[in-house]
């Protein structure tokens, strides 16, 4: 038997390689980053992004798309900085309710055959409205335990790295190894066949959405742990960041082809790309454009490696 890497392994190798290249470039530009503190500074804001990316990936694995991810994480951040700190019980109830709303959205989208894009677009207004009601002006404060969790200093590797590894492993176990994960991805691949095998696609979709809700809630909490306070617009970017993260990590929009480890790597890559740019010191006029350019370059790298994979497949 020939030892050829599986398609999944190559799918992972691509984002991993782009991350490594970028990291090498950053270390070269800024050797100071090559330390415990440096790595933490580089990566700690990637933790909430990674969680949001996993949430988006769950939704994408059932062929849907969540355009409300950013506003939802903002909403969670507002809840965390207010209720979860002052009245933990109410806070927990609200967050549980929010997760339930996600599951219900899955049900509604499935039952009525609605396009998830529009429903989540509508929900993005709703979450934004709730967030503005909670915090008309920025404020609130992170609960002590969240703050200390996010600023913990574990031995060997900084918290940011440890957290990302934990997230990747947990998500991998749920999505790639468990029966529920198989079912969810199965819906993305061929919903009719899952139905024919006698599963309740409704329940599975609700589960996928509910799980996504859980990860998104964790993202909001982690974010507040880092920023110490919240505002209604704090995470708007997460919608596009999370989608980009999934794609960078080798996921696809339809067909249930996703990779949780890849998604976490994608989130790290996106965060690192931003740092790389500020180390380059581009003129302020073009700093925004450079962010676009770097996305393009990283994805072009993906193409290059995809070519290799294709050649591999053709034997």
């Amino acid at each position: 038997m020939k030892l050829t890497p599986s398609a999944d392994a190559i799918r992972l190798a691509i984002p991993a390689l782009s991350l490594t290249v970028l990291l090498a470039a950053v270390f070269w530009l800024q050797p100071r980053a090559m330390s415990y503190v440096g790595l933490n500074l580089l990566f700690n804001l990637a933790v909430p992004i990674a969680l949001a990316t996993i949430a988006q990936m769950l939704i994408m694995s059932v062929n849907d798309l969540d355009l409300a991810m950013g506003t939802f994480v903002s909403f969670v951040a507002c809840v965390t900085a207010t209720f979860l700190r002052d009245e933990p019980l109410v806070g927990i109830l609200i967050l549980a309710g929010a997760v339930a709303v996600y599951a219900v959205l899955g049900v509604v989208i499935h039952l009525r055959g609605l396009p998830s894009i529009v429903v989540s677009l509508g929900m993005s207004f709703v979450w934004a409205g709730l967030a503005v009601l909670l915090l008309p002006a920025p404020g609130g404060q992170a609960p002590e335990w969240v703050r200390s969790l996010m600023t913990m200093k574990p031995p060997v590797a900084p918290m940011a790295i440890v957290a990302c590894i934990v997230i990747a492993i947990v998500a991998h176990l749920i999505v790639m190894r468990s029966s529920l994960g198989v079912l969810i991805r199965g819906i993305g691949g061929n919903q009719r066949s899952v139905e024919r095998a006698g599963w309740s696609v409704l329940a599975a979709r609700a589960a996928a959405y509910g799980l996504a809700g859980v990860f998104a809630v964790l993202a909001g909490i982690a974010l507040v742990g880092l920023t110490t306070s919240a505002d209604a617009n704090i995470a708007l970017r997460y919608t596009l960041l999370s989608i980009a993260g999934v794609i960078l990590g080798g996921g696809e929009f339809i067909g249930g082809r996703v990779s949780p480890i890849g998604a976490v790597i994608g989130a790290l890559t996106l965060t690192l790309a931003g740092s790389f740019l500020s180390f380059l010191r581009i003129s302020p006029d073009w700093q925004i454009g450079a962010q676009g350019a770097i996305l393009i370059i990283v994805l072009a790298l993906r193409l290059l490696l995809n070519r290799l994979e294709y050649r591999e497949k053709r034997r």
Binding site: R177, V182, S193, V194, R196, A197, G256
Partner: protein
């Protein structure tokens, strides 16, 4: 063999199903007993797939009753059917392409859950694959999407016969062999016979009557939503079946007219690894060999080489008849009419504006010519039976002015009568100077070609012409790759 008079595994009495104005089943009564293999034949749209859906619980008939093991079943559905050991292989693939073989097993066998399910699922599917297709060479942790269409079909068949706690009792095979080559078909049919001998039951649907005749213990003929004949297997002949189905048998079907094409110009050619391929004006060139050995890719390459992806071409050089119609044939949202006309819009349009009248007229012509069974060409494409969808794809290609027609196993699921008509059309068109490059998994069709290229492992290994085009030669070439040319 006598049919034991044990209780029927499943019995459908007087089932009636209509889809809007279309009456798919007009009162069908069918009982399947353990230890028998029921062959189900009929023209495209006869209602075979529909009765199958009724039996496997996917469709509730508007009228009629269902009973199992002698008891009437009130709330019958997919899960009830699976619990009774009823399994189905659908013609269009119903695995999840993004999952591995093992994961697909997990989905299809609900009871394989719990810790360590991967190991158990692997055992289940590998055991079954080894039993049905010995020497299959399919690794069970490969992603299904990476398998060839034949391998996928094999997995699907093995999946239906696999046992993970609830033993399979009745397996429904709706055109299981359409993507399998002769040797794999033989392996499968042999397994079906063993399965039946050990007390299982099978419903076998196929348009390849030979398969039915050698396997079925009882053959049921359907026509227009009714059962029109039902006799033990050995009481039928191929001729009798065709007659019962209502198709006119054409005597000349299998003869190839020898023509002298030496002076005709070469219209399409492709070189790659292996022997070069070329086809002359008016020639019917066959691509043969075991399924999944690069024939489809060759057709795709030929197509890609002569079509422009950027600029529209007024005079198309090639046209393509898809075999995998779900993937690259049918436009789901559209009517039959639009599905038909998409490839010839240039002829039907003036300055880029489509002439609706001309379009409808052209479609009506072809509806008559190859008998597309639908009351109205503006009906949705998906309301057609599988075989009729395939006919529309045929009409789409033949209606263009392209001098070369590439066909990717286009007769999948087309009934005998229609096949003969299509063969005739192909012959006529070839006479008029059209070139056909025809990949087929059916030996009978390969033998209709003027010249045949045999494929093995992605390259052409042999070229057979004229009287050398025989089943033995092709098989020999596809296995050894060194047959006499």
């Amino acid at each position: 063999m006598t049919v034991r008079m044990s209780k029927a595994i499943i019995e459908v009495a007087d089932a009636k199903v209509s889809f809007g104005a279309v009456r798919a089943l007009a009162g069908v009564t069918l009982a399947i007993r353990p230890g028998e293999c029921v062959g189900l034949v009929g023209h495209n749209g006869a209602g075979k797939s529909t009765i199958v859906s009724v039996i496997n619980g996917g469709l509730t008939p508007q009228q009629g009753s269902i009973s199992g093991d002698g008891e009437p079943l009130q709330r019958y559905g997919i899960n009830a059917a699976r619990v009774r050991g009823i399994r189905c292989v659908f013609q269009e693939l119903s695995l999840c392409p993004n999952l591995t073989v093992v994961e697909n097993t997990r989905i299809l066998h609900r009871q394989v859950g719990g810790l360590g399910w991967r190991r158990r699922a692997r055992l289940v599917i590998e055991r079954s694959l080894d039993a049905v297709f010995p020497g299959h060479g399919i690794e069970s942790d490969r992603t299904v999407g990476d398998l060839s269409i034949a391998e996928r079909q094999m997995v699907e068949i093995a999946m239906a016969f696999s046992d993970s706690g609830i033993a399979p009792r009745l397996i429904i095979l709706d055109e299981p062999t359409s993507s399998l080559d002769a040797s794999l078909t033989e392996q499968m049919l042999a397994y079906v016979r063993r399965f039946v001998a050990s007390g299982g039951a099978v419903i076998l649907i196929s348009h390849i009557l030979h398969e039915i005749l050698v396997t079925a213990s009882r053959i049921v003929v359907m026509k227009d939503g009714r059962i029109v004949a039902e006799r033990p297997g050995d009481a039928w002949s191929e001729h009798g079946l065709v007659e019962a189905m209502g198709s006119v048998v054409k005597g000349e079907a299998h003869r190839r007219t020898l023509r002298d094409l030496a002076k005709e110009p070469v219209v399409i050619a492709q070189t790659g690894r292996g022997l070069p391929l070329q086809a002359k004006r008016g020639e019917i060139v066959g691509l043969a060999g075991l399924a999944g050995h690069g024939q489809t890719r060759m057709l795709m390459n030929l197509h890609a080489a002569s079509t422009a992806d950027w600029l529209p071409r007024r005079d198309p050089a090639v046209t393509f008849v898809a075999g995998d119609r779900r993937l690259n044939g049918v436009f789901d949202l559209w009517s039959v009419l639009k599905n038909f006309s998409i490839a010839s819009l240039h002829d039907l349009a003036l300055r880029g504006v489509v002439d609706a009248e001309a379009e409808a007229e052209r479609a009506g012509e072809w509806k008559r010519r190859i008998d597309i069974r639908t009351p109205d060409m503006t009906n949705r494409m998906l309301s057609l039976s599988g075989g009729n969808q395939q006919k529309v794809l045929f009409a789409r290609s033949l209606a263009t002015r392209a001098p070369v027609v590439l066909m990717d196993d286009p007769m999948r699921g087309v009934d005998v009568g229609t096949k003969q008509e299509v063969y005739e059309i192909i012959r006529q068109e070839a006479q008029r100077g059209r070139t056909f490059v025809w990949y087929s998994t059916e030996m009978e069709e390969v033998c209709l070609c003027d010249r045949v290229y045999v494929f093995r492992e992605g390259e052409i290994v042999a070229e057979l012409a004229g009287d050398a085009v025989t089943e033995e030669n092709i098989l020999a070439a596809s296995f050894k790759g060194e047959a006499a040319a």
